[in-house]
Subunit: 370 residues, 2 copies
């Protein structure tokens, strides 16, 4: 594994309202997510990791694009899209919702934001969910408008996130509960602010509505956080594995059911009336999945980045695959996420992992690390 | 514009059957296309450019994923998806087909490959067209299977492409006409080989069916081409602009109609019965678009990469935007693609372009360069 290759920038890899700030902060690597630039490293993966766990970071996660549903059929459509029962969901709540196709294969694992009975945002993982939703709406002639609005999430994550947010939005943000949101003022604009984010260090996601308010908000957060060692950051490849935060496209694809991904508790196939994939998932929920996501520790020195699924064997039989892996400085082992067949998914199960840097011992852990 | 940032590799940015060969050939930069790695530079953009125009290159364009349609409703579905009239299309033909939503906005600009009446491949540009097609199929309860098969295109492009292809597949490939395909043997496998590709230097695209045949074919091409200075290459950012080859996501998005993109000739709204977007496009075809793609030359020294749309002004009014640009060594000017309003789209029109490296003079050209 030599130096990382470069990324060729073009309009197709969309910039964000915060890109100027991200560049000024010295971003050193990107990935592409929903056709948009997502920073992956600033100083180094490990330095970013320690800082995230001890201070506060501002993350440009604009690439969590929104699919907006508006109109009388918006609620019905939302329930068609997910096997999670949404009847108890109130405006002001966020739900993690698996989205599956008619066979129960995962198409996305977004967060649904219920703004009103007839207005929703779906804050998506990396697939063009807009096209699936538009196809369904067209096919069923639903009375709902679907588009991608000018809304770019900005995350504030880390143990000091609440203090920083309070400094900019007022103490009212302290009262926002996990996976709830409120409306808060900035520059005379009302922004949706949710307690959520792609880390286990605590924090918020600001749904920045309007490109023009992006850099002023970015700058306000850095000014208010000067005394808190606030830094530009991004979802951290080590922390998210320690925390067991799955990544669509890495740890699951449309080959997988929610049950395989440990998301069975979000599938209410008995009550989520009219949802796509219900028949297939009902069958899965009766029989149970034959493979499932597990935390995996890997022996030896730091592994290289996991750029394709690494097979895990018991004897000569492939019984699983590791799909994300990183060296954890805090836990002094390689932490990983993998899909393991039921014959070998119990904690303590010892398997042989084949990586580009040779054969390693892999152990199924009882729980994720954070 | 300093050094390019790095790209963080992960399973989500999928490798291809040819990635090992691409790496061994010294790829220096990538972009991401359909969640897959697409090489963008090997030696340098300019060195790759001169070589493409004088010799022959092998391109890993696996990222041109296929959406496969199989079943009794496949033909009906294909005609629903595009406003191009497909009635005269025979098995063995490839058609460039705009795909639009119900408002006539471009969702993709793929090549449709008709394998049989009931079996099609759609060789897609950079959007998850699979999700749109699956949504339509589900909504209309069509009797057709839709998925992404294990098919990865490998392009052979350049003036010596025909000689190289004949050395590997036999002289029969010389008889394949433009945008036609035939079936040719390799390692006992029958592969679809079309005369097509994302350059104007001539060549073929091999639809490599089966991951395992990828590297053997890659190696066979390099062995057979040793005397032709064959090199690993990729779609070239300079050559494709000179040639007026549009890029979905760069030069057009779902905001644009086919007519704005100069693709009106592929929209048979009077005869393509049942196509999605027909009503909207019929209106557009009557009134004509108010803006359209044009070749643009830009004065001065080489421009930086176009990473966001650059506004073009006449006086104080924005009348267009440049979306792709590069310095052309052969034409000794900056060549560009832009969208220009009808008031200023005539050849010779002189506009003021705002780039990150300052203000430049932009001229609407009568034709693309190649």
């Amino acid at each position: 594994m030599g130096a990382l290759p470069n990324i060729s920038l073009s309009r197709r890899l969309r910039r964000t309202p915060f890109s100027d700030g991200v560049e000024a902060a010295g971003v050193s690597a990107y990935t592409v997510y929903n056709h948009m630039l997502l920073p992956t490293v600033f100083r180094s993966l490990e330095e970013d990791y320690h800082h995230l766990k001890s201070a506060v970071q501002v993350w440009d996660v604009s690439c969590e694009r929104q699919v907006e549903l508006r109109g009388p059929d918006a609620g019905r459509l939302m329930q068609m899209l997910t096997p999670r029962d949404l009847r108890g969901m109130m405006p002001g709540q966020c739900y993690y919702v698996p989205i599956v196709d008619e066979t129960g294969g995962m198409l996305n694992d977004p967060v649904a934001v219920k703004l009103a009975e007839d207005r929703w945002w779906i804050s998506i993982a990396d697939s063009d969910l807009l096209l699936w939703v538009k196809g369904i709406v067209y096919g069923f002639r639903l009375d709902v408008l679907v588009d991608e609005p000018d809304v770019s999430p900005l995350a504030v994550q880390g143990p000091l996130a609440e203090d920083l947010m309070a400094a900019v939005f007022g103490d009212g943000v302290r009262a926002v509960r996990f996976f709830r949101f409120g409306h808060f003022q900035f520059m005379g604009r009302e922004l949706v602010v949710a307690r959520s984010g792609y880390s286990r260090q605590g924090g918020y996601e600001i749904y920045v509505e309007g490109w023009d308010v992006g850099m002023p908000l970015w700058n306000a957060l850095f000014e208010a956080g000067a005394g808190m060692d606030v830094r530009a950051g991004c979802p951290n490849g080590i922390e998210r594995i320690e925390s067991g935060l799955l990544s669509y496209g890495n740890d699951m694809t449309d080959d997988n059911t929610p049950h395989e991904c440990g998301l069975g508790r979000f599938c209410n196939t008995q009550t989520a009336i009219g949802c796509i994939g219900r028949d297939a998932l009902l069958r899965v929920s009766i029989e149970g999945p034959v493979q499932q996501i597990r935390p995996i520790s890997i022996s030896g020195p730091p592994v290289p980045p996991c750029t394709s699924a690494w097979p895990m064997r018991a004897g000569n039989t492939v019984v699983g695959r590791v799909t994300s892996a990183a060296w954890s400085p805090d836990h002094e082992t390689n932490v990983a996420i993998g899909m393991v067949r039921m014959t070998h998914w119990d904690p303590g199960s010892e398997l042989t992992l084949h990586t580009p840097s040779g054969q390693r011992e892999a152990v199924v852990e009882p729980a994720f690390w954070n």
